[in-house]
Structures are given as C-alpha cells and as structure tokens.
C-alpha cells in the first residue's frame, strides 16, 4: 500500500497506508488525520480538504482540473502547490507522497 505523509500546520506528521483507488482525502479521514474536514464528502463542492503538495511530488500528483482550480482560488491561502485532496486518487506511483495541511480549511 502506498504510504502518504500528512504534515499538520503545527508540524505534526501522520504516516498513513492508503488503499490504491481511494482519494488522498479519504485516506486521511479513514486514518483520523486531523485538519481535513471534507464537508462535501469528496464532491469537489466545498474546498475543505485543501492540502499543499510537497514540491518534490508536484509533477507526479499533477495539476488540478478547471473546476478544482476555481474552488482552490477561494480556499484559505491558496498557493501554487495547492490541491483539493479529494481530487487526488491514490496510485502506486504516489508511494511516499508528502502533503502539508493549511492552518484551517476555508
């Protein structure tokens, strides 16, 4: 199972074994990583599962689609490496992925 590391805004790390096929958001929720609210449950409707993708992983994770990009515009402190974690599917190539969580979800 791919391992994903979530780093809270306060620096606390959570390493999670994620199932291939679920989203990075779902893997966080299932493993009780705090700081990802995911109010809409992964419908790309709310921007409360915002993460910053570690620079080394940006190419592999890829760019957001237009819908997600617009949502991110209005997340709390969006940056170049912002993604909605419900829109990133866990794949084998993402083993070792590191994402950081914002101070709060918008």
């Amino acid at each position: 199972m791919p391992k994903i590391t979530y780093i809270e805004h306060n620096g606390k790390e959570h390493v999670v074994d994620a199932d291939v096929g679920v989203s990075v958001m779902e893997a966080a929720v299932k493993n009780m990583v705090p700081g990802i609210d995911a109010d809409c449950g992964g419908a790309c409707a709310c921007a409360t599962c915002h993460v910053y993708v570690d620079a080394a992983w940006m190419d592999k994770v890829g760019k957001p689609e237009a819908m997600e990009e617009s949502m991110l515009d209005f997340a709390h402190e969006p940056k170049e490496n912002s993604r909605l974690s419900c829109q990133i599917a866990v794949r084998k190539e993402l083993d070792g992925l590191v994402v950081r969580l914002p101070e709060f979800q918008g």
Partner: protein, 404 residues
Amino acid sequence: MNGRAIIIGAGQAGAQAAQSMRQAGFAGEIVIFGEEPEPPYQRPPLSKGYLQGELDTERLYLRPLAFYDQLKIDLRLGVRVASIDRAAKAVATEKGETVSYDKLLIATGAPPRRLACQGADLAGIHYLRTIADSDALRPVLSEGGRIVIVGAGYIGLEAAASARKAGLEVTVLEMADRVLARVAGKEISAFYEKLHRDHGVDLRLGAALDHFEGEKAVAAAILKSGETIACKAVLVGVGAAPATALAEAADLRLANGVWTDERAQTSDPSIFAAGDCASHPSAIYDRRIRLESVPNAIEQAKVAGVNMAGGEARYDAVPWFWSDQFDVKLQTVGVSEGADETVIRGEPSTRRFSVWYFQRGRLIAVDAVNDPAAFAISKRLIGKSGLDAVKLADAGTDLKSLAF
C-alpha cells in the same frame, strides 16, 4: 463540563455535534442513538455514485469506527428512541431501555414524504434516503426497462441522471410547470429541463400522478389525465418532512420542524436540535428557515455541540447546497425564495453560467452551474446590497473585482 449527552440521530448532524462537543472540551459521556445499522454516513452519493455502484458502503462512512472509540462516543446503532421524558430528563428506547441525559440533541433528520394514493404500497415503489433504500434501488438500474420518477426535485433529477447513465428508460413526472420549482429560479429550471431531455429523459411537466397499478409489483403509473405509463419500478422524490414526532410528543415548540433559537437550543434549555429536522432564525433572511442540506447539518451541529458543552456559539452561516447531474455541477449559495430580480451571468448554452437572485436590491442567493468561482465569491456577497448589475451580467468582469 461533565454529565451525559444523548444525541438522537446518527446522521451528519449527530456525528458532527458529538465531535464538536469533544473539541469544545466536554468530558462527560456521549451516547448517539441511530435507527439505521450503519455508523454515520454521507447521504448525497446515495442518488449518485453509490447508486451507480461506484462506491462500496464503507466509503460512505463519515469516520471510521475507531474514531468514535477514540473520542469515547458511544454509538448505539439499530436502536430507535421511542420517547423523551423531559421531566425525568431521560429517553426511552423502543426496546424499553431508559437513559438519562443532562443535555439532549434531536438530530432526527427529514425522511421522505410518502405517497398515499392507490397502489402506493406495491412492491417496486422506492424512496431514497438511506443506504438500504439505495441498495434496494440499485438492482433496478441493472435490469433495464422503464423507471417512473415522481417529482423533479434534486433527488428525482439526480436519480434520473443515474438511471439514464445505467441505460434505463426514464420518465419523470412533475406536477409543477417546471423542475426544481421549489428551490431554484426559472432560468435554472429551463437549463435542467433541457439537460435531462438532451440525455433522453422523458420529462413530463404539469403531470399529476393519480395512482399505480400492478399485481404484486408496480407495473404502471396512471396519470390524472388518464394516460398509463408502463414501468418496472417507481422512485418517489416528492420532498421530505422533518421528523418531529419525538419533539411533538415531548411538547417541545415546533415551527416547520423543531423550533430552535440561534444557539440551536429548543424551547427546553436542556434540549438542542440540528440538521434537517430543525428550523432556526436566520439573520440573513430575517425569518425562520429550515434547510435540508449537509452544510447546514454540519454547521448547525457545530453550534449545538459547542453550546451543549457549555460554550457559546451562534448559528448564522450562509446556506449552501450542491447537486451533480450528468456532467453538470450546480452549486447554490443562499435561498432564492422571495427574489424579485435576477441577473444572469454567462450563457446557459455554454453550460457555465450563474443566476444571481436579489430581493429589494440585496443579494439573497446564487445558483452557479459549472462555475465554482461564482459560487465561492458569492458566499462572501450574500446579504449585501449595491452590486453593479451591469458589471455582474458581463461575464468579462473579473468576479473578484465585485467583492467588496
């Protein structure tokens, strides 16, 4: 704060309130009673991805079971609460168990309104609210044939889209002269009517159902006009009614649902209510409203949870909703009822546009079709007056320049 909190209802609101109580420092017992066998789960996919077989049941769960253990939340599932005894501050379950409370939350939701016409109890007539409902409907989607959907609200239209995707013939019966009549303006209705017809849905507006016919299972829907529509199954989506029976029997104040103040407190200071079952005063709309939506359940339950834990929170969140049908995402901010002016931004034929609803010059709601930017920015603009309608209607204007 200590003592025991009881939450009736293991839906989105019940789960959130328990979590918020813990976050607010409540150290006492928390017991959640849920009628259904599953732990708290998300309902929106029941008419979409879950119905289409894209998700397994566990992926609907809001949190893993370990989460409730960790927060010492006692989930009692498959248990129905039969009554509330306010004098004794206790609830009784249907099995006869009595459990006392210091604080109580009513989060009983809003089950679907049921039809009472002739034939309404035939097999093959479905409703959609629970995992069990969606599980019962899913095999219908793989069997082929025609499904009749009664009601063109969100549930009916989302299910119609799912059924068409699965290859079923779909007839939607709507009594009103447009779809989504209760929740959206006529421009949005027209867009969704075209969307569904373009996808092969047989959409009947102004069509009143009279009764159903069939031996054991439903075989046809008969309209008031006399027309017979043969079908293999029926889905009824004619709205939901707040589950107020417990509150009513306990003599709590009701007002289109369980009456609550802005603290989510009912007419009994030890009892709170949140989610689809509760109405609350809205400062934005200057009237009492009751919302059936996930964001409302979450936000109102947060307020209830904080107050039940002895804190102080007030509910005045801007309502929002979403609906996915075919490849179109509708995101709504606010409540458009009572609008006296609308501004359309963008061209509906491009499948990306938004409708801005005003009342006496004040922005009260926005429906955004495939336009998350309009959705997101309007969350900040609801309740404001003085938006430049000409600039707004010009899709070339940067929306961010309108935020003030």
